[in-house]
Symmetry: C2
Subunit: 235 residues, 2 copies
DNA sequence: ACCTGAACACCGTTCAAGT
DNA sequence: ACCTGAACACCGTTCAAGT
């Protein structure tokens, strides 16, 4: 780092203590939005509340993001960029597994991320980078383009390391729902790992991920193609 | 049906032609909300627009639903109640498969249903009925309560017959995303079956569902338990 | 060039009042 | 008992104006 660069940084840091003196930029807006959403929840994140946090008029934000939708796209980009790069030297199955669990690690720090990612209509570029990289891992492992296509669909939003939880929070009455009660008691996992409401825990996620990856591997070994989808389930 | 009951019905039907004369009830509110959301989209469904459609002041709705959240719960209940009952005489795997595809048939008529179902914090009772019934099918098929628990988690929101689509709508640039381009061309399915934006098509859904069900069957045949999860993927 | 203030067209929901 | 109208505390976003 050159002397002038260091000075500029110090200058900015000094200005940051004086509210409103550091000019806004896109990155500052997006990072502040991520922090604010982490703190107060995505429902309480508004253009107005974000502007207030930044000590700026609401309309100042529109110089850096065209709309709230673009703000949400940008927030997704920030957290997806935190996902670790692929680990080298692993076979495709382990490589995908580790990558997805790394995505889980990065995204589940932000309880709002699952919902916001799934609500994107246009995937931000870093999202496509991640998907492109995952696809590359399957292809490098020898899976056909055909199988890889369907395997990526089957993986679905689980590629981000989360699944929206579908089980009810309160215990329902046993008379009407005997089967739910019957299976509810098994496998009591730690509630702490469920980040925010509506997220799975680690054991259930890995179980589902492994069922899928094992299935993909079996289809690959069988030479599965979409025009000749032979498939059996004997042990 | 007694004479007086018939007369009462005729009376109501006659009144229905005069807007605003039939007293509102919860069912009329919920059904109107479902129809309106089908027509204008869930984002344009507001308490005010629904009230206007019903020819009533916005606050009249609050006699029948406590809040907009409760309205959404009720709308989910309406569409989930349309799912066919389980088919008798099938083994557990076929029974689950048919039931889930029937759920798909019912829910995908309402493009907003996936998003709204996944956003429920408290599952409506008919949602628990459906889950209880699915669990019962696994248990009746001989799966342990242990395995069934994890299998239900792994099935996740796919039990409703849909998965949120994760692929981008516009074709991205080939230079930056070569692998996406490579697999994009395979298996061009009909776009018509993708109900609204963001929903999978039939082939991809069945592929993923079968990978999961085949995996569940294999674990069941192997005598899998959560404390002794032996699992291999040889063909 | 970058930010502001007022205004517009919406929300869900409260409250007190009408019939 | 059931519905209404006005009002409150919010939204995202436009526009014209400020420096």
């Amino acid at each position: 780092m050159s002397r002038s660069e260091r000075d500029t940084q110090h200058h900015n840091v000094a200005q940051a203590a004086i509210p409103g003196r550091v000019p806004l930029n896109r990155d500052r807006v997006l990072r502040a939005a991520v922090v604010l959403a982490d703190e107060v929840g995505i429902d309480s994140l508004s253009m107005r509340s974000l502007a207030q946090r930044l000590g700026v008029a609401p309309m100042a934000l529109y110089k850096h993001v065209a709309s709230k939708e673009e703000l949400l796209d940008g927030m997704v980009s920030v957290v997806v960029a935190e996902i670790d790069p692929p680990m080298p030297g692993l076979d495709w199955k382990r490589a995908v597994r580790e990558r997805v669990l790394s995505a889980r690690h990065a995204l589940l720090r932000h309880p709002w991320a699952p919902h916001v990612i799934e609500s994107r209509t246009q995937a931000p570029l870093v999202v496509l980078d991640y998907m492109n990289s995952l696809i590359g891992t399957f292809l490098a492992g020898g899976l056909s383009a055909d199988l890889t296509h369907h395997v990526m669909h089957a993986l679905g939003s689980r590629m981000w390391g989360f699944t929206q939880e579908v089980f009810p929070t309160p215990q329902p009455p046993a008379e009407r729902f005997p089967h739910i009660i019957e299976i509810a008691s098994v496998g009591e996992h730690d509630d702490k790992s469920a980040v925010g409401r509506g997220c799975d825990d680690q054991f259930e996620f890995e179980f589902a991920l492994d069922v899928l990856l094992d299935g993909f591997e079996r289809l690959h070994n069988q030479g599965w193609t979409s025009t000749n989808p032979v498939r059996t389930a004997s042990p």
